[in-house]
Symmetry: C2
Subunit: 367 residues, 2 copies
């Protein structure tokens, strides 16, 4: 069959629970690859994050950045600690540096109900929630990070920037994803542009480029929803959406809202994807309130790792990697299916080790 | 007792369902004031909105603006129509002009469950949702309205502006509201600042001023939540919040999200309040999809009118106006209490007339 592929993975556990979910994640990756065969990962563990900043004065040391730039993919736990900050008071967030410096314009944040994980919504249709938010991740309001100006302690400004080249790649990425999803049977063949084009010139520009690119994908449906209306629709009828694409700040907000719908940050994976590089990390932060207790829900970390295998498999024509990704996703679904595995967010007693055991068992039992 | 007060109300029905809910609203106001006595309203009906723009080339004619500036309060239905736009493609939104030109910095958006109106959330605690979003309404990202720049069809920029004087008044307003709510038994004595101070200088500035003003209200709790975390918390535990205060764009998003939690825009009133003037209007838009059918839910319009009476009563030391406000609010609760009045958003057959009848009956039955 296909020859065996080995991929180099830069592993950045980071801070807090990021460290706690990383080794279980590698155990899950290894178990899945063992079942599938023909694919292997070479891990390089690297320092970055708030604790690294405290120890070295640098949140993302050059050696770490260089290793990330050379790796086939980057796996990240969580970074930042509320009490460790840059001198200007903002938080340690080297994941933002990676997005900017590696050009990871497409922040992919799938929101899917795992049957057996309680929904926060009353409607039984919440079981059908399955959409993907594409958050532009290199410009928008975040272009102003480190550049905002405060004048005379009287007035502050931050400027949002939208550029054509980034938008074109972002929208093409979104339409291609909608095609793939439809092909795999989970999508509706629809991309929704989320903006505030009724008020802002930059969002009218964003929408205009969206419409231009939509014309190249005539088989897909393309529509627009204002950000405020989308915040409402995600509560009222999230099951109606497929792929939605939006600006950086809006995507940050919508992806947390979306995570809430399907059980919270413990079930929300992400990928920040560029033309050459990609970072895979759970949407959750370092969670200092529960760090060190072994209680963190590792599911989003595992889901992010599955996204990594899928991306590697597609990019390098390695079907085994994609098969291992599917195995992990199916094992997660199987482990939660009967509703008895209750993680600590829901007051359950399934800690990191228990969730990992259940998912490992499901990988081994997959037939 | 107190002498009779008469207030001049500028009435701007606007477009679409705005027109349909306005006369019922005045019927409700009149019924409540009849019961209470000692307070009267003088209505001046005025033209503004998308249809006015189409007919006159001006969405907010000078005569309308002048009458609004002279009135004791402004009652607004809804404005804007998707197919009628300014030459630059943005929407007709004279409500934004009123906010800016009359200095209505505090956008007050209460989110409260009306028992009997179905919640979208699964938790029984959704019955206890009762918080208020204060959306700054004269600057923030909206300072860029009409000023965004697109260069060579390659790059677009909009600049967010945060100023100290507006923030100080905004935060003082929020803390005073939290005091009043605690006094009336419905609040927790807590104000939450919602920002993105971990990334942006302007939000760090916003938060710093919040902390300065919080120090003047030592009896109240003051805390901070990042906007993304708040979008999540509003799905997971909205019943925990009391007053939250945020920037214009963030407030726009959170208030629609909040409305979703308690049944949608048909139950979400608002007030835009400045030091001299105030506009009261439902959060919903002109809803062209159902306009003309008599189906619009008028509840948010009535709730907004109750907010107006309450504000007038407090400002002019007219307890009868406040009593009439309470009468309307109680009547709304009474009308929906048994769960049989189902508005069209929920597939029910309670149209504008039916909801109005039920609430008028409850006003007359109040003892
Ligand atoms: C930690 C924070 C700076 C970051 C962001 O705002 O992008 C986080 O919220 C995320 O969504 O990845
Ligand atoms: C109509 C629109 C411009 C307006 C806004 O964004 O402020 C509306 O959404 C609101 O919340 O009042």
């Amino acid at each position: 069959m296909n020859p065996s592929s080995t991929f180099r993975i830069a592993v950045l556990p980071g801070d807090g629970i990021g460290v706690e979910v990383m080794q279980p994640c590698i155990d899950v990756l290894e178990a899945a690859m063992r079942r599938v065969g023909n694919v292997a990962l070479d891990y390089e563990w690297l320092e970055a994050g708030a604790n690294t900043y405290r120890e070295t004065g640098n949140a993302l040391p050059k050696a770490t950045f260089d290793a990330c730039a050379k790796a086939d993919a980057i796996l990240l736990g969580a970074m930042g600690m509320p009490h460790i900050r840059y001198p200007d008071g903002t938080e340690i967030a080297p994941q933002l540096d990676l997005r900017f410096d590696l050009g990871l314009y497409a922040g992919v944040r799938p929101i899917r109900t795992i049957p057996g994980v309680p929904s926060l919504l009353a409607s039984p249709r919440a079981e059908a929630i399955d959409f993907v938010i594409i958050r532009e991740s290199t410009e928008g309001l975040f272009a102003s990070r480190g550049k905002g100006v405060v004048t005379d302690d009287r007035e502050a400004r931050d400027t949002m920037v939208i550029t054509r080249p980034v938008c074109e790649r972002l929208f093409d990425f979104s339409f291609r994803l909608a095609e793939d999803r439809r092909g795999s049977g989970s999508g509706k063949g629809r991309v929704t542009c989320v903006d505030k084009a009724n008020v802002f010139a930059s969002f009218a520009f964003f929408r205009k480029i969206f419409d231009e690119r939509a014309a190249r994908f005539p088989d897909l449906a393309a529509d627009h929803v204002y950000i405020d209306a989308m915040a409402l629709s995600l509560v009222l009828k999230p099951w109606e959406f497929d792929v939605m694409v939006t600006e950086n700040m809006f995507g940050d907000i919508l992806s947390d809202l979306g995570a809430g719908l399907i059980g919270g940050m413990g079930y929300a994976p992400s990928a920040d994807i560029g033309d050459e590089h990609a970072v895979f990390q759970p949407c959750h932060g370092s969670a200092p309130d529960i760090a060190g207790e072994g209680k963190a829900n590792p599911t989003a970390m595992f889901q992010s790792a599955a996204m990594m295998l899928d991306w590697l498999g597609e990019r390098h024509a390695a079907p085994s990697a994609r098969a291992a990704a599917r195995l992990i996703t199916d094992a997660i679904d199987a482990a939660f299916a009967d509703g008895r595995l209750r993680t600590c967010e829901f007051g359950g007693d399934a800690d990191t080790a228990a969730v990992t055991r259940a998912i490992l068992a499901a990988i081994d039992n997959d037939t």
